[in-house]
């Protein structure tokens, strides 16, 4: 009787399993930095179609954008990002170290140090370049108003700052003291520090403030294309920095949401020809050589240095320049 009872229970549980069901729809949250809105709006549509065809599953991707450092802090404080696509590796390192949401060697999980596309920093000036700004040195001159976001909250701003610093170091007789003096003079010309790169673009392009915007290359190209055709020009400085915005699955959250598989596929899709095309169309420099060659003409030729070679990596750069009390705090006092 006991055996019969058990058999009946199990048989009863399995009996109705007769029809096939479509996979349950799934939602991903991509927490990203400021200027990637348009890139991921486009990419998300493409990926959703790809994933539906591949698995039959509907995927909805929600986006959150803001200054990269601020976004990282939100994730550390509990914002449930399935994936993060931030401006610099240090911000994802912070999530790994402080929240323990992903392993500290997360950069090894995808090709190219988990940076599927790159960018750099350029100067955006008003049409005709009325102040005659041609290189970093011009930005520190008296009477020049410079727009750049706050390095404390914006990843792009940190790239801007380091690009200027690297240029100063590479000048004849350049050293740390001279670079610090130069960057200090440059930031004295900054009237408004927005929290993120998109805010700075708004300040410069829409509010008409300043003579030059230090900007992501993709943001500058987008501004010319969409926000102010015929009103702005890009100035490629003699030296800039190779920005490598990284991406990662936030393992802890993805596991909790049951989205690990689709989150991984989402990021891997950035490396496909389709993903690279979308990145290039939004003015990010693609990694894939064939796509890079196709879009080579839209990017100015520049000498690019890396954070590793000039600053000894992001950890060191963060501690030296952006930590509380470090160089940036020493050279920039709000309201002065």
């Amino acid at each position: 009787m006991k055996t019969l009872g058990l058999a009946l229970i199990l048989a009863g549980a399995a009996a109705p399993a007769l029809k096939l069901e479509a996979p349950k729809p799934v939602t991903l949250l991509n927490v990203s930095y400021d200027p990637t809105r348009e890139l991921y709006e486009d990419f998300n549509k493409q990926f959703a179609g790809y994933w539906k065809n591949k698995t039959g599953q509907d995927v909805t991707i929600r986006q959150s954008h803001g200054g990269s450092g601020k976004q990282a802090r939100s994730v550390i404080d509990g914002l449930e990002a399935d994936v993060v696509t931030l401006a610099l590796a240090y911000d994802i390192d912070q999530i790994a170290e402080k929240a323990g949401s992903l392993p500290t060697d997360w950069q090894k999980r995808l090709p190219d140090n988990s940076s599927p596309y790159t960018s750099t920093i350029v100067l955006l000036v008003r049409k005709g370049n009325p102040k005659g700004l041609h290189d970093w040195g011009d930005l520190a001159k008296p009477g020049v108003s410079v727009i750049t976001p706050n390095p404390k909250t914006s990843g792009g701003a940190r790239w801007n700052y380091l690009a200027a610093w690297a240029w100063a170091l590479r000048q004849p007789g350049g050293n740390e003291a001279k670079a610090k003096d130069f960057v200090s003079r440059l930031y004295k010309n900054v009237p408004v520090l927005d929290a993120g790169a998109r805010g700075s673009t708004t300040t410069f392009v829409e509010r008409g403030i300043g003579d030059v915007l230090i900007a992501w290359e993709n943001e500058a190209l987008l501004a010319i294309k969409e926000l102010g055709p015929g009103k702005f020009e890009i100035v490629a400085p003699s030296l800039s920095i190779l920005a490598e915005p990284p991406v990662a699955v936030v393992d802890k959250v993805a596991r909790k949401h049951g989205t690990t598989e689709v989150a991984r596929a989402y990021l891997e899709y950035l490396y496909t020809a389709e993903g690279q095309e979308i990145a290039a169309r939004h003015f990010y420099r693609p990694r894939m050589p064939t796509v890079a060659a196709k879009y080579a003409n839209q990017f100015p030729k520049m000498t690019l240095v890396t954070v590793d070679e000039v600053f000894g990596g992001w950890k060191k750069a963060q501690a030296t320049h952006f930590a509380d009390g470090a160089f940036f705090d020493q050279i920039y006092q709000p309201g002065q």
Binding site: L18, V192, A195, I209
Partner: protein, 471 residues
């Protein structure tokens, strides 16, 4: 804005009437100002156009700074502490960083019990408060949570849950305190989510609450759930507190949902077991009594106040085994479990191992199309007279059997008052007005073997109605 405009006009006017300084210095904060000096002796003032441009930039900067300050204030407001009330979390207070929360929840169940044509039932038809349980839950920091749940429905308040959770990873939660030992499947379902007003016959053979320490977690995104723990050890159906002896019960449960897709995806099955030693006495037996679905006592071990030396008590090993499964697909839900409870008992120095068993299969179906699950669903159209919402209608049915070991009689139990077997068949309907409000009625007929002075106890026909509010 008007102030800024006035300021601009004023400054422009001042410059226009010749009040401008001879030498302009670049100002901190980045205002664009040209330094113009022809020679050491003569300084050419900036043109009027340049001055207006400068002031225009100043105004724009001030406006932008004000915009940024407003954005920052709005963002900060979002991060402030919040107090919320909703069906999912009850009433809650949350710190700005979300790490500290306090939730006030609870539920009340008001029942009616009628026993039509049940001659052997001694209880009268009755209206009663079955459960009245306020719940205080919260989080203290990133990893730690707690829950306290008493019940005020009985003649004396009883503590049901009081535990601390350390949630370190999806794969590892540490729980310490008083809570449900993970043995019976339906027992693990919340009292607000069970389909019938009273749980089925197998719940007789598993513990209700016990004090202990448990490790639990989900592995591979819910593919495998596990719980292992050490508890004081309590009798079947008991809500325990202090232990009767130093020996402890060890409890473990594995539950798998192995199919990520396809027809069997909603299938979950598992196995639970507990083992331990119990040492009762003639005054504190450490043994249970069992109930019918109508909550009548149908089995008890022999005990007497006049000759306590003849009382039966727990005296040795106690083992429980329980294979269990559920299947939730669309509006359909099925749940089945089987429980074996073995207890070593003693009477006047004579010890025996008694094995009681029980099983049940139950099903439910939402006529209104809600997705069935181990937890009560949110009605697709919650009850709302203005919006035309009706709530959710759920049909329920179950069959279960409880078999007491034949060796129980006559030494350890009396066949004229305790049954040897009970078979219960029940049907019912639940009306979920909202997630928080449910009204249900179920009818269950239970037939017995033994349990009467002559032959079998008369069947019990229990008609139970329930009005439930939870928040």
């Amino acid at each position: 804005m008007r102030g800024l405009e006035s300021c601009t006009i004023g400054l422009v006017g001042m410059i226009a009437v010749g009040g401008a300084p001879q030498l302009w210095a670049q100002q901190n904060g980045g205002t664009v100002v040209a330094v113009v000096a022809d020679t050491a002796d003569t300084v050419t003032p900036p043109s009027l156009e340049a001055r207006v441009e400068e002031l225009d930039q100043k105004v724009r900067i001030l406006e932008r700074l004000r915009e940024i300050a407003a954005d920052s204030a709005a963002a900060a407001a979002k991060d402030r502490q919040s107090a919320t009330a909703n069906a999912k979390d009850g009433f809650s207070i949350k710190s700005a960083d979300g790490k500290y929360t306090l939730r006030l929840r609870g539920y009340v169940q008001a029942d009616s019990r009628f026993y039509p044509s049940s001659e052997a039932v001694t209880s009268v038809d009755n209206l009663l408060i079955r459960r009245a349980r306020p719940i205080v839950e919260g989080a203290v920091g990133r990893y730690f949570e707690f829950r306290i749940m008493p019940d005020f429905a009985g003649s004396t308040p009883t503590l049901f849950d009081a535990y601390w959770d350390g949630k370190f990873a999806p794969q590892l939660t540490v729980r310490a305190g008083k809570f449900k030992p993970p043995v019976g499947l339906e027992r693990l379902q919340s009292a607000t989510d069970v389909t019938f007003a009273e749980r089925g016959l197998p719940t007789n053979l598993v513990p209700s609450r016990d004090v202990g320490l448990q490790l639990s977690g989900d592995i591979s995104e819910g593919l495998l759930a596990y719980q292992v723990g050490v508890f004081n050890g309590v009798a079947d159906l008991a809500n325990g507190g202090d232990d009767l002896s130093s020996a402890k019960d060890f409890v473990g449960r594995l539950f798998v949902q192995p199919f990520k897709s396809g027809s069997f995806r909603p299938l979950g099955f598992g196995f639970a077991a507990s083992t331990g030693l119990e040492r009762g006495s003639i005054t504190t037996s450490g043994l249970p009594s069992y109930r019918s679905p109508g909550q009548q006592t149908i089995f008890r071990y022999n005990s007497s106040t006049t000759t306590p030396a003849n009382n039966v008590f727990a005296d040795g090993k106690r083992v429980r085994l329980s294979p269990q499964a559920y299947y939730y697909s669309g509006p359909l839900g099925l749940l089945g479990e089987y429980v074996v409870s073995r207890n070593e008992v003693t009477k006047t120095g004579v010890t025996a191992e008694l094995e009681h068993t029980a099983w049940q299969a139950s099903g439910s179906f939402f006529l209104t199309g809600e997705k069935n699950s181990f937890r009560s669903p949110m009605p697709k159209r919650p009850f709302d007279l203005k919006e035309g919402g009706f709530g959710a209608i759920e049909l329920i049915a179950r069959y279960g059997v409880l078999s007491l070991d034949e060796a129980s009689f006559p030494t350890y139990a009396t066949i004229t008052s305790s049954v040897q077997q009970a078979k219960a068949l029940g049907v019912g309907v639940n009306w979920h007005f909202t997630r928080a409000v449910k009204v249900g009625v179920n009818y269950e007929r239970t037939t017995f073997t033994g349990g009467a002075a002559t032959g079998d106890r008369e069947p019990e026909n229990a008609l139970i109605g329930r009005f439930q509010t939870s928040f």
